[in-house]
Subunit: 96 residues, 5 copies
């Protein structure tokens, strides 16, 4: 899994029928120092994340293992909102 | 999923039999600022996208989860035409 | 899928038994401008492609969806010989 | 599989129900010279690894093949703690 | 599949039970010119390859399609020892 920050939302009305009802979030990738890396992904939200949340997302077939995304053409899912992480004993992020 | 702009079409007559009837589109990758990143993919179209459309595409095994691409040797599918997205409250793209 | 140009062949006699009978081709990746990008892949040929052909190849589990590669330890397959593609109305390649 | 060094832990309380009970570790990627490469992954721990351990991790659908991660939205798993490796006859790492 | 050169071995005693009995090899990636590219992978050996061998390896779920790696948390497998390959009619490598 990679870390990301939810920065926005995406709307699509013309889409594959299997995508009906899914919410798409725009996620900027961040590294373990909590810095943006320049990468991004558009991910389906399975945990009611919101703009500003720091999240974990899974990609590939693992993105279809939530109840919400099962058998859907989805290759990225937000499956956890992050509370905190630390590196070498230092807290790098803590959700307020 | 990643964002892309459909820029062209591709034709192949000699192909695996499981690919019969699929339409291939040439897609340039774009980032969340709606800028081309230099990358591309040739994707199967599942939503009747056209040249000029901004789309979402899925890759890997997730690209085989549409009715159209089920069990086919396809690793990239356009499964949504994008209406709009925003980042930090700013609209970055809106379909005309 | 990505575009590639078949540039050579590879021979292996000591290999997993599930690979018996497959032909391996050396493929240089090309971009939508029909320029080599420096990347490559060794792919199984499912369409009798030859050196010099411009092809589409699929990777990952999708590479096992042809009849030829089903359930084999193959992560890249050539599943189409390209006739032509165009970008923004310009033909970028046409098979002679 | 790639080599990594476990450098920290991550906590999430709001997560997909299928992730309950899994431990997330922050892993910096290392190369065969035992140097950090700048990359990272957040991986599920299946072998009771701890901060400071050098580990092997698997990604993609292979990350769901441990008993612990079966059918869960997990795309990276630590499945081995490394004792030692050598390159061209030179020991590059040995667990103390 | 990609080309690699086996340069070493890796030992792990604490590992997922499904990995028992597998041999891990350290593989440096090479390109079609038979030059190292800086990348590497730790792969399971399914063909009794040895240090110094030039090999083909498969990644992702395809790495689990050998009899040896079936249903194991393995995302890279050596499934062929390379005898020779050529590019544009020139032999780039030949096993001695």
């Amino acid at each position: 899994m990679l870390l990301g920050k939810v920065v926005g939302t995406l709307v699509s009305t013309r889409k594959d029928e299997k995508l009906e009802g899914l919410k798409f979030l725009v996620v900027r990738q961040i590294n373990v120092e909590n810095q943006e890396t320049g990468g991004y992904v558009v991910a389906v939200d399975s945990v009611q994340a919101g703009v500003g949340d720091v999240v974990l997302y899974a990609t590939g077939s693992s993105a279809r293992q939530t109840v919400l995304t099962d058998k859907r053409p989805c290759d990225a899912v937000i499956m956890a909102v992050v509370d905190t992480w630390e590196v070498n004993g230092q807290v790098k992020y803590r959700k307020e």
